[in-house]
């Protein structure tokens, strides 16, 4: 009898415990779903706000005065100051691609195609995408940090009080410069990447040099380079749009500047990768 009562109580306790665990589990799942939903809604809000910011860019880009010197200043900042890192990344990307492709292609005796495969990969994908990621990390973050710190130190208010539109003065030159700097950097990446591929392919892996170049001439077209250049332009535009947008959103001092910079890099990089798919789908049909 005593045993049965204890067993019964233990059973009730077990049921209660399992219900408690079940409730906790359901609560945790529900809160995760809520968090996910909130993130999705915030992302949609963010996309909407960035689109509106883009519309404001297109409004102000047509308005006088055109500050050409500021565009060149930003071209120098984005282009020239990113050059070294692009040269290094391009060179080693080309070298790695050539090495990896060579060992795969050697198995089926098509190692003479290494040069053209690397060149096609670089021109259509790797050069614009990697350049985009590098610029998002370097220049996109810098744009958010510069504008963000100007906002928290009232420098943007000072511009507005003087009657200067801050989007026209700060965002427009950066976005124009980035839209033109990225294709140039991407072409540099492409050439230096191919140089790396040639160096490793012909000097280290002993691919016949005349075959290397003849296959390049046979399978590589201007449209392949154009595809990369168009992508790079779009990436340049979107990276600067995002960088400047998050700069203008900065609030709450240094912490806000850090947060804005972080968001600019994350959104910039993700946008490059997502846009790459849609651009590829579109460009392969028209080029």
């Amino acid at each position: 009898m005593n045993f049965s009562v204890h067993s019964f109580l233990a059973f009730l306790g077990f049921i209660g415990y399992t219900n408690l665990v079940k409730d906790k589990f359901i609560n945790r799942i529900t809160s995760r779903i809520e968090e996910l939903g909130k993130s999705v809604m915030e992302s949609i809000d963010g996309l909407g706000a960035i689109s509106l910011f883009g519309a404001r860019f297109f409004y102000w880009v047509r308005k006088k005065p055109f500050r050409v010197s500021l565009v060149f200043e930003q071209l120098f900042f984005i282009g020239n100051k990113s050059l070294m890192i692009i040269l290094l990344s391009g060179m080693f990307t080309g070298m790695v691609m050539a090495t990896q492709t060579y060992f795969g292609f050697k198995l089926i005796n098509v190692d003479s195609l290494v040069g053209v495969i690397v060149a096609l990969s670089l021109s259509k994908e790797l050069a614009p995408v990697l350049t985009g990621l590098i610029v998002a990390g370097r220049a996109g973050s810098a744009m958010a940090a510069q504008i963000g710190s100007m906002k928290v130190t009232e420098q943007i208010d000072a511009l507005e009080v003087m009657g200067i539109n801050s989007i026209q003065y700060l965002a427009v030159p950066r976005i124009i410069a980035s839209t033109f700097a990225l294709p140039m950097l991407s072409v540099v990446f492409l050439f230096i990447g191919n140089f790396g591929s040639w160096l490793v392919g012909t000097k280290s892996l002993m691919i016949d040099e005349s075959m290397f170049f003849s296959k390049l001439g046979e399978f590589m077209f201007v449209a392949d380079i154009a595809q990369g250049v168009i992508k790079a332009m779009v990436f340049g535009f979107i990276i600067a749009l995002i960088g400047t947008y998050f700069g203008f959103q900065v609030e709450k001092g240094a912490v806000g500047v850090g947060r804005g910079t972080n968001l600019a890099v994350v959104w910039g990089m993700i946008s490059v990768l997502i846009l790459d798919y849609f651009l590829t789908s579109f460009l392969v049909k028209i080029l």
Binding site: T153, E154, D157, A158, G163
Partner: protein
């Protein structure tokens, strides 16, 4: 409440709400021309919001703001931007462009809005910087290389570059040591005095009672979005309003 003929700035029944939160509550008052008027108030009283209304940066929920006789609500955004050139402003922390030197900061509005030659701009910049007590050896220094007081002087020179009719000072002495505070006060008075030949209205937003009472012609006290006292400075010192009394004792 004080009223003036042909005031520099006039607010008529201005209310500003952010959601349900009322920042300015049916505010009506005039700021006279060619005088130094200070708007005092505790933090969160609505001083900065009031300043932004005067500048036309934010629009009132209801009511009207007139500056130099112009109803700001009648101006388009482009006209409003141009109209803002009537204002000069000294920000709380000077808000100098940190990538520009002292002289580039002062030259900036001249390059943007005038057709002066480089030589004329250089001369005007030099005159302005010297007039606020910046020595030539500091002209090429970046804001980060200047002391707080010097930054304020350069900020004032930049604010005066376009010879504004109204000079706004946002908490000009906050965070400064007593000597620099005295210097900034003297500078505000000198600026107002030196421009008496033409029009120079000075509006100071502050919670620094001591500094305010030394230099103002008129003092208004803003509390919870309303002006609860507005008097010439000598009468303000004798105000019987308990909140003003409390503030004066601080």
């Amino acid at each position: 409440m004080l009223t003036f003929d042909n005031p520099a700035i006039s607010l008529k029944n201005v209310t500003k709400k952010f959601g349900d939160h009322v920042i300015l509550n049916d505010l009506s008052f005039d700021i006279p021309r060619n005088k130094i008027t200070t708007i005092l108030g505790f933090s969160g009283a609505g001083k900065s919001t009031l300043l932004k209304h005067i500048l036309g940066i934010i629009e009132p929920t209801s009511g009207k703001v007139f500056v130099l006789g112009q109803d700001l609500s009648m101006l388009s955004k482009v006209e409003l931007r141009e109209f803002r050139r009537n204002f000069g402003m000294l920000f709380q922390y000077a808000a100098l462009f940190d990538s520009f030197t002292a002289e580039e900061n002062v030259a900036f509005p001249l390059k943007e809005f005038t057709k002066l030659s480089e030589a004329e701009i250089a001369k005007k910049v030099k005159d302005l910087l010297l007039s606020v007590g910046i020595k030539e050896e500091s002209f090429k220094k970046l804001p980060s290389e200047l002391s707080g007081g010097m930054r304020k002087r350069v900020g004032l020179a930049r604010g005066l570059a376009l010879s504004p009719g109204i000079m706004l000072y946002d908490e000009p002495t906050t965070g400064l040591d007593p000597i620099t505070t005295k210097m900034v006060n003297e500078l505000i008075v000198e600026t107002a005095t030196n421009h008496k030949d033409r029009e120079m209205t000075s509006v100071i937003i502050s919670h620094d009672v001591k500094a305010t009472l030394e230099i103002s012609d008129y003092v208004a006290f803003l509390d919870r979005g309303k002006i609860i006292e507005y008097l010439p400075v000598e009468e303000f010192k004798k105000s019987t309003n308990p909140l003003v009394q409390e503030f004066l004792r601080l």
